[in-house]
Subunit: 311 residues, 2 copies
Amino acid sequence: MNKQTLIETHNRIKPFIHKTPVLISRLLNEETGCNLFFKCENFQKMGAFKMRGASNAILSLTDEQRQRGVVTHSSGNFAQAVSLAAQTLGVKAYIVMPENAPQVKKNAVKTYGGEIIECESTLKAREETANTIEKEKGASFLHPSNQDEVIHGNSTAAIELLEEQPDLDVIIVPVGGGGLLAGTALAAHYFSNKCKVIGGEPMEADDAYRSLISGRIETNKTTATIADGLRTHLGNRNFPIIQNYIEKIIRVEEAEIINAMQLIWERMKIAIEPSSAVAFAAVLKRKEEFATKNVGIILSGGNVDVKNLPF
Amino acid sequence: MNKQTLIETHNRIKPFIHKTPVLISRLLNEETGCNLFFKCENFQKMGAFKMRGASNAILSLTDEQRQRGVVTHSSGNFAQAVSLAAQTLGVKAYIVMPENAPQVKKNAVKTYGGEIIECESTLKAREETANTIEKEKGASFLHPSNQDEVIHGNSTAAIELLEEQPDLDVIIVPVGGGGLLAGTALAAHYFSNKCKVIGGEPMEADDAYRSLISGRIETNKTTATIADGLRTHLGNRNFPIIQNYIEKIIRVEEAEIINAMQLIWERMKIAIEPSSAVAFAAVLKRKEEFATKNVGIILSGGNVDVKNLPF
C-alpha cells in the first residue's frame, strides 16, 4: 500500500463515479468562523460515497470472479452501491437483506438490478446467508467498510477534495464502520503535508471513540442514533489505519446532529442524510478549535426519506 | 431594448451574483424521456433568482438616487434580495411588510440589513406605505416583477443556461408576477435561434394563462396554491414581452406540484421551494410533448421552511 495504489484506484473508478462538487457557504462560514469546504457525496451516483468503494472492489476482481457475481449483506447505501456498480459492469449482485427491511430500501436495490435474498433480522443469519451464496454461487463477498479495495475506493473522495483545496488544515468525516475514515486518513497522509483527519461520531454509537482509547475494536451495546449509517463498528482492516493516521474523534449528541442537518438543508439548499451531518455537527460543537482554519467536510450521502425528516 | 442591453446587464451584475450550476439527473431523464438541464437558482445568493433583478435595479440607479435609498413592498424573496443587494452596495433598503408576516421572513430581511416598515395586511396599505416612504425619504421604488431593470436582471439566469447549453429546444420557468418569464423570453429571443420559452403556472392561480387568451392582464380571485411565489399577476411592462415571445403556458394541479417537488428533493438531493417545482411539474404532465428534447428548467429558489414540507 502506497500513494501509487491510491492513484491507480482513482484512475480505475473515475469512469464509473461522479467527480462531485465542493461547495462553500458564506453563511455557514460566518456561523462557524472557519472556511468550510463541503465535498458533496450526496450528489454521488446512487446518492452516497459508497459508490466509490463498491466500484473499486468489483473492478479489482478477475474476469472469472466477475462472472460468478458478488454478494454483500446490507440494507443501506452499500447494498445500492454494489447493485449499481455491478449492474454497470455486467456483474450479478446478490444482496442479503433482513426480511423486515423497509420496502423503500428493497425497491432501491431492485431499481439498480440487485437480487435480494431475504433472511432473518440477525447478524448471524445475514452472515450465514451470505456465506451460503459465496459457496453455492462462487460469488465474491464484498464488505461495506472492512476491505482494502473498499477503503481505497473511499479515499478518492478526499483525494478529489485535496486536489481542489490543497490548503486544507483538516478533513472531518463521519465514522460508522470506519471505511470512509480510514480511506480519508490514507488520502490525507499521501496527498497532503499538513492536513489532519478527524472523525465525527454519534455519542449514542461511540464505539470508534472508545476503540481508540482501549486500543482494541469496541462494539456498541445500543445504537440509539438517528445517524443510521453509523451504527456499525470498526474492523481489523480499517482500525490500524485509523489508529495510525487520524487526529481524534469528536462525539456529538443527537440534538446536535439534527441541528447541523437542518442548518445544511436551510442554508445550503441541499439534501443530506443524518449520518452526513455528524461531521459538521462536530465543527459547530468546537467552533473555537476550528476558527480561521480551512476545514474540509465530506457530506457522505443524501439518501433520506423526505417524508420523515427529524425537524 | 436589444441584445446589447442584456449583455451590459449581465456584466453589471456579475460581481454581485453567483453563476449558479446547471445540474443534470440521469434518473429524472429516464423518468421523463427528455434531456433535462436544471439551472439552480436555489443556490443563488439569498436563495433565489430575485437577486439578479434586484441587483440590476439598484446598480442602475444614479449615485444621488442610491444615497436616498430604495423601497419595496414584499414579504417574499424580493424583500430579501433588495435587502442583500442594497447592503452590499451600501444603499439603505426600506422593506414594507404586512404586520402579520411570518417572523422568519422578517428575520431574513433583518439579517440582510433591510429596515422593515410594518403596515396593514392589504395591498392598498402596502402601496400607500411604500408611497409615503418614496416621498418622505426620496427612496426609489423597486417592483418585484414589473420593472425593466428587474426583468433584464432576471434574464441573466437563462443567458447563463444558454451559454452552457446552447442546444436547448425549450426553457420552462414558473410564472407568478411574470418577471422571470419575461426575462427568460428576452434571453431566448436574443441568445438562441431555436429555443422556445414556456411558462408553468399553478391551476389555482392561472391569471397569466387567462391573460394570454383574453389579451389583457387578468387577476386571480383566489390563490389557493402552495406555490406562494406565484400568487401575483402580470404587469404592463412584462405582459407585452410575454405575449410576443413565449410559446405558451402549461397549468398544473397542486398534487402535481408537490409530486414534482418531492422527486427533485429525492432524486437530485437539492432543496427547492414549491414555486420552483411548477416548471418541472409541467414536463412531467406532458412527457410525450418533450420526449427526446433538450429541456432547460430554471429552479427559481430554495427558500422553504424545512419544518413544514408538503410531503
